[in-house]
C-alpha cells in the first residue's frame, strides 16, 4: 500500500496550498499523516518543493482557464481582475470532486464574487446572472480538456 500513501501525500500537496505550507515547514510531520514506508518518505523528501509548487501552479492555471471558459461574461466584466481574484480565491479553496467539478468550481467562484465587497454592482449582476445560467446547463460538454 505504500504507493497509495505516496499518491495520497502527493495529491494533498498538489491541491492544497495549506498542505504545501505544512510540508515546507515540517516534511517529517507531513509524511507521518500518510501510510508511508521509509523509501516513500525519502521520495517525498527528495521531491523538490519547487517542483511541487510548479505543478500546483499548473493546476491553478488550469482551474482559472476552465472558470474563464465557463464564465465568459464575468471574465469580460472583470478584465484583468478576473485572474487575480480567481487565484486569490482558489488558493483558499479546493477543486471540488466529481465529474462536474469545473462547473462546481466556477459556480463557487461566482458565489464568492457575488459576496465580495470590491466587486461593482454591475459586475456582481453579471456574475449572478451567469451563475444562474450555468447552474442548470448540461454538464456533458463542459468537463476538463486535458
Amino acid at each position: 500500500m505504500s504507493l497509495h500513501g505516496l499518491q495520497c501525500a502527493l495529491t494533498e500537496l498538489f491541491v492544497g496550498a495549506a498542505s504545501r505550507e505544512r510540508y515546507a515547514h515540517d516534511p517529517q510531520a507531513f509524511a507521518r499523516r500518510f501510510d508511508l514506508n521509509e523509501r516513500d518518505r525519502a521520495q517525498l523528501d527528495a521531491l523538490a518543493s519547487s517542483a511541487v509548487a510548479a505543478y500546483a501552479s499548473t493546476l491553478l492555471r488550469k482551474r482559472q482557464s476552465e472558470a474563464a471558459r465557463l464564465l465568459p461574461q464575468t471574465h469580460a466584466a472583470l478584465g484583468e481582475e478576473f485572474a487575480r481574484a480567481f487565484d486569490d480565491w482558489a488558493q483558499r479553496t479546493r477543486l471540488p470532486d466529481g465529474r462536474r467539478r469545473y462547473i462546481a468550481d466556477a459556480l463557487g467562484f461566482c458565489r464568492h464574487l457575488c459576496s465580495s465587497g470590491w466587486v461593482s454592482p454591475e459586475q456582481r449582476a453579471i456574475a449572478g446572472a451567469e451563475r444562474r445560467s450555468l447552474r442548470p446547463r448540461s454538464w456533458a460538454f463542459f468537463v476538463p480538456r486535458w
Binding site: Q7, V15, A51, T58, P144, R145
Partner: protein, 284 residues
Amino acid sequence: MVAAEAKPRAAWEPALLGAGISLRRPHVADAILHADELDLVEIVADHYLGVPPAVNAELAALRERFTIVPHGLDLSLGSAEGVARRYLQRLAALVEVLEPPYWSEHTAFTHAGGRSIGHLAPLPFTHEALDVLARNIARVRDAIAVPLILENIACPFDVPFADMDEAEFLHRLVDRTGCGLLLDVANLYYNARNRGLDPLEVLQAYPLHAVVQCHLAGGHRSGGEWIDSHAFDVPEEIWHVFEEVARRAPLQAAIVERDENLPAFSQLAEEAARARSILRRSAP
C-alpha cells in the same frame, strides 16, 4: 500482489486509419460538414459519459462519418486504490456503442485518497507502479474488450527514487500488458527539452514497436520551462520527431490536438493532412 494480470495481445498489425483531430465542440459542425478532410476523429470520452450514446444526436452524426476513437482522461489507471467502478461502466458503455478499433488512456493517476487532482499526475517509474497499472488494466479489460492504448504524459518533474527510466517503464508495461502506446510526441519532446535531453535520443529508447497512434500539438515556453499547452500550431521540431516515429513504428493513426487559441477548423485539417502525408509516405 498482482491479481488477474492482463493478457498480452498479439503484436499490433499495421492498419492505416489515417489522420484526424481531437474534436472540440466549436469544430463539431465543421467536422461534419467537411468530413472528407479527416480520416478519423478522437473524442474526449469524458465529454460524452453519462449522456446515453444511443440518444446523443451529435455522436450519432459523427459516427455516420468517422471512425471515432474515445480518449479517456479520468480513469486514473495508475491509482493504487484502483479504478472507479461507475466511471468504468460508463466508459465501457460508450466504447461499446462507438465500436472503435482501440481506445486510449494515460499512464497517470488523477485521484487518491478520495480526492481528485483535476489533472494527470505522474507515476513513479517503479515496479510497484507497474504492478498497479497491470492490475488496473486487467480490471478494465474485463469491462472493455476493445484494445487499449496508453499515452505518455507531460511530466514537469520526476518522482524521485525510480527503479527505471520512463522508456524502460513503458517497455515493461507493454510487454506485460500487451497494450499499445499512444505516443504524445509533444509530451516526449517537451519532457526531453525540460530535462536538457535530445528528444530524438530519448525516442530511440522508447518501445516504438508498440506505438499505434501519435498525438501532435504545440506548446510554449514559460519561465524557462516548456509547457505542453496545446495552444499553438505543431512546430517543425515536433513534426521532425513524428516523421522519425512514423518511419519506425506500426502507426495506425495520428491526431492533432488543440485546446487553447482554437484556430479555424481548416487550419487543423491542414495539419491533419500533413500528418496523413507523413503516415502514407512511411507506411510499409
